[in-house]
Symmetry: none
Subunit: 215 residues, 2 copies
DNA sequence: TAAGCTATAGGTATATGTACCTATTAAAAT
DNA sequence: ATTTTAATAGGTACATATACCTATAGCTTA
């Protein structure tokens, strides 16, 4: 077997780009086993035999189905397939979309062969790769996640702990036992949670917790 | 208390459309609590207080961030918020995008007030609404959504309806009033839901509903 | 026809949650 | 040094949910 091979599908609406990529990957342990000229073609190919592919190398702007859309579909349906997005642009929106689409990497088309190989290496080893010049852009996206986290931060540690147990379907009494405190204390925390989460019942707390990533 | 209110955010880059919609929704149990002139503004508003909103009514073509992108972000980050997309066009691509973005509904701007209200009613009761003339278009892309929906299909329509209202933080009594049935009936449905959803309390029902896209 | 499911509704009893209070202690912030 | 806050816990009262029952009417399916 030797070093295991990575089976790749390339999606790009310019055949020249595909050919160039294939040459770059020649003599590496990467097999380009399929090509597609747009996202739809790519997803169709994948649908035929999803397990055949380890990684998809895709352009971002393609007719019918864009690279980010393709990525979203892949991640939703075939999460074992990794996705590296190739883009002409390094604008914030495109990167943001790629990040939201859960791409494993994003590099620019003017990247050299070495950067391509580095990105592939990192990704196939379970990591991610984003071009250095777009890292600041990603940080902008970071904040958004933080906003949610910060919301949970208005809850005290104990409140978060109790909310977490509520979501696990424990009753106040069970929570009290588990934390070695009085049921009354738990109920008081619950009351405070209502105020802080701006809701009026445990149902609202559960929704809040899920919406804010506490699970 | 009466029937509970639905808090709505409207996103459209034409103030006239916003004003028109507000008038259409006047005197209904819908509160338009925020307005935005593009998707970015909308998502910023939502980020400030996600739980404030029950539903977003959005145009599809807007500067900075389109309606479908907005929808995707909402569904990814705040799945409790429902989205009804308003479009000028009924072309396949736009509808497909809306479906992929997991919009709860898609209607055309030339729809009348009654269709708008019908769509809102269906959506806020846990269903979806797509203009009749675009239904055939949707079928092609339907598959993905079905996987999740099939889980919910073990629930009877009435059970789904009641589950939906439970998640909206209504008590059994309030649900009974709203549906003109006895509180006992609601409680019986609740019991059946426990069995079908394999959980032991309302907390579990809420988690099930959110996990399966019923909101 | 019989069986099964859905939706309806009632009874009874208990468990749990929710809405208000007050109050103490320790720690953190002003 | 004073004020706030978190975490603790108690009381009382009421609301709501949960666990069991039975039962009927309508509709679908074997």
């Amino acid at each position: 077997m030797g070093t295991e091979n990575i089976n790749i599908l390339i999606a790009d609406d310019h055949q020249m780009v595909i050919d160039g990529l294939k040459m770059m990957l020649d003599n590496q342990n990467y097999n380009v086993i399929s090509e597609a000229n747009n996202g739809q073609e790519a997803i169709d190919l994948i649908n035929v035999n999803p397990l055949k592919y380890d990684l998809v190398l895709t352009d971002i702007s393609m007719p019918l189905l864009s690279g980010t859309e393709l990525c979203k579909m892949i991640k939703a349906q075939f999460p074992h397939i990794q996705v590296l997005i190739l883009s002409m642009y390094n604008n914030a929106q495109a990167v943001k979309e790629a990040v939201l689409a859960e791409a494993d990497g994003y590099i620019l088309k003017n990247s050299g062969r070495s950067e391509l190989l580095q990105a592939l290496h990192r990704i196939t080893n379970g990591g991610t790769y984003f071009s250095q010049d777009i890292v600041p852009i990603i940080y902008g996206q970071y904040q958004k996640q933080k906003v949610q986290d910060e919301k949970l931060n208005v809850l005290s540690p104990r409140e978060k702990e109790i909310l977490s147990l509520i979501v696990k379907e424990l009753t106040s009494e069970e929570i009290a036992e588990k934390l070695f405190i009085s049921k009354k204390t738990v109920d008081n925390h619950r009351q405070h949670l209502f105020v802080k989460c701006n809701c009026k019942s445990t149902v609202g707390l559960v929704k809040y917790a899920i919406a804010n990533g506490l699970e």
